[in-house]
Amino acid sequence: MKMLTNSPETVVADALAGLAAAHPGLRVDAERRIVLRAEPTRPGKPALVSGGGSGHEPLHAGFVGHGMLDAACPGEVFTSPVPDQMLAAAQAVDGGGGVLFVVKNYTGDVLNFQMAAELLEDEGIEARTVLINDDVAVEDSLYTAGRRGTGATVFAEKTAGAAAELGADLDTVARIAERTNAACRSFGIALGPCTTPATGRPGFDLGENEIELGVGIHGEPGRRRAPFAPADELAEIAVDAVCADLDFGGDAMVLLNGMGASPLLELYIVYAAVVRGLGKRGVRVVRNLVGEYVTSLDMPGFSLTVCRAEPDLVDLWDAPVQTPALRWGR
């Protein structure tokens, strides 16, 4: 597989060099593999730190900046970062207000952040962890590692980040992130696999006429295969999956997320159908994002995240944000 890389081993380091060059608002510590805001944390403000495997850009580094994250820890491609990174990031951005770890629920991320939290405690820095687990494709049962974290990460980082900016304390910020996560449900559909630089081979094989329903964001196969169908039907499957799991009440915020290789033109087609599908179910979309926010390298397909539009969460969503990937109100 042809890729715009130099070698599998240097992918993350090379990309961090580009990230640093592209965004003067970020400070990239290449040595310790952490991405920080260029400006130090306002004293007393709880700091938000997230991280996860690379390959999901702009997640997470693209959400570092005013109104969202204070730091991100990029792991190897599709591999959780290591506790050293999280610890270094937390120490770098703690402004005395403690640190909130925003962790997507994958075993690797959970275990590494858990270790980091323990080490952080030894340093006398207060830490909270909020687990993002919005993917309805996975049953949350004893028989799985629990639901995966995906698009809700963007909502939780945004609302909690805004709350922190507005002066909320660590417990409040953590609660906002938890409430946001609880208000979100996601479902992903892949039309094809993605290919990691390390293997150079597609993560799974799909027939000319097959799609993966409930696909994850790591090139892992989905829960089941289905025959390919028009965009409107695929949108309906996704809307149905999230709405079957949570009653969103009247209003919702929606992220229609491209997985990497689906043209924006196509995402708009799906989005139109999503709005119709939600409308049929009495859900009105009051805020939206359509584009690539939580990608899976070069995977064709999309994921839908719907977030119940609780009024204070919408206000926090609307609050100013200035990051590489989200920018408004400032």
């Binding site: 690797g108 590494n112 494709a137 196969p221």
Partner: protein, 209 residues
């Protein structure tokens, strides 16, 4: 001879080679039911371990394993980093200050290591994880200790048990880690972590032989 610092270092250095050699196989196992990075993860981690040990080998086998565990935690990431890291750190700590562990001491320490993995990851036998290779291996080692089997042979029995345990993960349905998302579609594939456990223990047996 028992399990001493030299054997520990020889094992882990050889492990770095073996993991590098087998990285593609391990990653392909992971691609089938996970995200395809298990081989790369371990290759990166054990290369770092070998580099560290090349700088100097600690005096006791316990210190060798604790150092290795820390290094793995700092360099592997993913699920396997903290799990293998905890395994080796807990095993090393349980070895204490001993200069050379006999089979019984090794079995006891390894038991502590496997318990650390079980506690951290919450997996039991049958969940289709590295526990399915670690658990029979540690039982084989304990049995060997009771039977008074010498170190080299005991480690061979442990490796054999791990290999069988790894094979036995094939029909299982995963309940932990990334493979659990697949539900019944995880059946019919060997667990990559169990496979790497079998590999690592085989390398240890070879180093001791």
């Amino acid at each position: 001879g028992g399990f001493d610092a030299a054997l520990g270092a020889a094992w882990l250095t050889a492990a770095a080679d073996a993991v590098a050699r087998e990285a593609e196989r391990l990653s392909m196992l992971d691609a089938a039911i996970g995200d395809g990075d298990h081989g790369t993860n371990l290759k990166r981690g054990f290369a770092a371990v070998a580099a560290k040990l090349a700088e100097g080998v600690p005096a006791t086998p316990g210190a060798v394993l604790v150092l290795t565990g820390r290094q793995l935690i700092s360099t592997v990431g993913g699920a396997s980093g903290p799990l293998y890291g905890s395994l080796l750190r807990a095993t090393g700590k349980a070895l204490g200050e001993t200069e050379s562990a006999d089979v019984a001491a090794l079995a006891a320490a390894f038991t502590a290591g496997v318990e650390a993995v079980a506690k951290l990851g919450g997996a039991s036998v049958g969940d289709k994880t590295m526990i399915d290779a670690l658990s029979p291996a540690v039982e084989a080692l304990r049995a060997a200790a009771e039977d008074g089997v010498p170190t080299a042979q005991a480690l061979d029995l442990a490796a054999r048990a791990a290999e069988e345990g790894a094979q036995e993960t094939v029909p299982l349905r995963a309940r932990k880690g990334r493979a659990s998302y697949l539900g019944e579609r995880s059946e019919g594939h060997e667990d990559p972590g169990a496979a790497s456990t079998a590999l690592l223990l085989r390398v240890l047996a070879d180093a001791a032989a």
